[in-house]
Symmetry: none
Subunit: 204 residues, 4 copies
DNA sequence: CATGAATGAGAATTCATTCAT
DNA sequence: TATGAATGAATTCTCATTCAT
């Protein structure tokens, strides 16, 4: 009887893949890339090491995929807000606040995905993450400038600066090491306010 | 004849130390911390491995020192500007512009020192770098708020955001692939303008 | 087909472990702990270096296990004799003679396991060896004193002295250069006679 | 003016040599051979590393000499007692007691010199130490047998056993690790009594 | 001659990847 | 097909010895 890749097999394959990705993400969230070794992922995902290599050609690919997945999810959320209608200012505020709040809740994961490179391939994914986030922001800025809400400015540079301010504000040194040191909402407010002043050139 | 640590010897020692530090910095600038192994530093500095361990107790110490040295130098420059007299706005502009211009010239080094952690000890040095830079910025903000140039704001958060915007603007993905992709002066202008709008809440 | 740790695999694992232990013991017997480096053990056991670390957490653990294994075996043999019934004197004689004869046959190994420390962890195992041997001897002494065969004496000190006399007699300098220099049986006789006189306080 | 090795120079050379030896001995006493590195000896002796190599061709030679020196001194003391007149029994008791008491006072040094080999060359010196000690003991035994105090016995084996009992009794496992666990005098009494019973074949 | 800086061969350990079962 | 045991290149650090000053 020839081997048939049945639906059942297909489903197991997919669920294995997801579980591996999820476990990898969790390990990164707990101990950064440093602690996320293939063997550890395999053990926690309850699959064999070899199985990981069936789904991902290399460690770098696995973790690049981890970053991409988080990126897709988070940028997707921001995108949806960015593309919702209405004036640019509240839209930007909403997007930034949502992103920041979620990042604060994710604890160390955000820090690792944002600031802790490891392999070049993972780095690329990280950069893509930031770039995609920037592109989403840039969309709002473009709209706001068109609509006269924001002054003329170098949109790409501003978007990058917003991303930087956002991430650094969240994981930066002034927010005590690694954890949300100060009460989150207030910090998020300050960051959002900073960015809004920056792109609008007006107080509030 | 008893051994005398002559000036010549002293000079050689110092120059060895400097050469090791410089080589380490260069290797980091070229390939990130990943490429900067002790053996590689030794080879390129044309000293034995043991010599490095005469000057630095461990690999982590060596690279922490690399970061510290750059930090001291760059933050020192910013500090001097921050502490010069006059209104806060041009002072902040000057500080940011100077830092940014220098960082752009340093190429990948800034990226590595800012965004690529390695050993925990090096990480700490990197965090100190950002914190020190933030503190310098915060000083100007404090002054500006006192002087009524800037609106009331969370100074620590703003300073972190400025640092983030500055660094991300410089090394971020929108400045293509780690190198000075766009003409530098224009990018620096955009970043500085962004930060000034953010802290002042006014266009210009 | 899910991976099954078959009996065959199990057997290979166990035999690898044994081969590694055996090789380590052999290397120690040939050249002392100095010659027994992990790489050498791996090469001679025809396994990779990593395989050794799959079976033993560290070099110290491996060699501690080597000592422990020999200790368990040899002390076990002595214990069985010590716990057999009958008067203490022949029991002690039998125990000492058996131990000594076996040690003489093992050549340099006894010397290394007895006299050559290396890592603190291995040292501990070695001390345990001597202590266990001493405890076994002390048991016979206790019995003999109760039975009136031996005079009252400091049992712990006597046991240690017996162990010392035994080991030194075997591997000591008077038995030329670490090997069985003199004809074994006569040496064993002399050592046993010495110890019996010492604990009994009577000739023969 | 040709270089003349004046008396003054000669004296300094000799005193340097002594200081190096003394320092080495002290370091061994404090931390065993493991802690006694050439650089440490040089530093503590307040000479350059090179100076040590002027006096001793290698590390092994230096420490072999350390062992030899201690050996000469201690064996000398025992020898003198051994060669004093009078019956063998009190002479042996005196020799053993003196040696044991001194060893207990020297703390870890005795242990290291007796039980902690390092380099083969040092090992040889250690073996010579034990052999010389044994020879000294053997002299007393010979005399005692001649005089009819002791029964006929294998003198070399007995001497080795005495040395073994003595050393093991002192540094062995029953005397808690490394330090004089039990009150020294009582332990020395027990060891001496053990040895006297062993060589005399009669209760003491 | 004394010095101590420089050297670099070694040694232990880690972990991504492979492949027999 | 899944598994996880085996692998060994790579990396950090130590320390006896040499030799320019």
């Amino acid at each position: 009887m020839p081997y048939r890749r049945t639906d059942k097999v297909e489903a197991r394959l997919a669920s294995d893949r997801e579980r591996i990705l999820g476990t990898a993400r969790q390990l990164v969230a707990e101990g950064g890339f440093r602690k996320a070794q293939i063997a550890a992922v395999a053990a926690m995902a309850e699959v064999g090491v070899g199985t990981i290599y069936r789904h991902f050609p290399s460690k770098a690919d696995l973790f690049a995929e981890v970053v991409s997945a988080v990126s897709r999810r988070e940028v997707g959320i921001v995108d949806r807000i960015a593309e919702s209608g209405g004036p640019a200012t509240p839209r930007l505020a909403d997007a930034l606040r949502t992103f920041a709040t979620r990042a604060l809740r994710s604890g160390r994961l955000a820090n690792a995905l944002i600031a802790e490179p490891a392999e070049p391939a993972v780095d690329e994914a990280r950069l893509r993450y930031r770039r995609d986030l920037g592109r989403s922001i840039a969309g709002i800025l473009d709209y706001g400038i068109q609509a006269g809400e924001f002054p003329r400015q170098d949109v790409d540079a501003s978007a990058a600066c917003v991303v930087g301010a956002l991430l650094e504000g969240l994981v930066g040194p002034l927010a005590p090491s690694g954890q949300i040191g100060r009460d989150g909402p207030r910090l998020v407010d300050a960051i959002v306010a900073f960015c809004l002043r920056a792109v609008s050139g007006s107080p509030a």
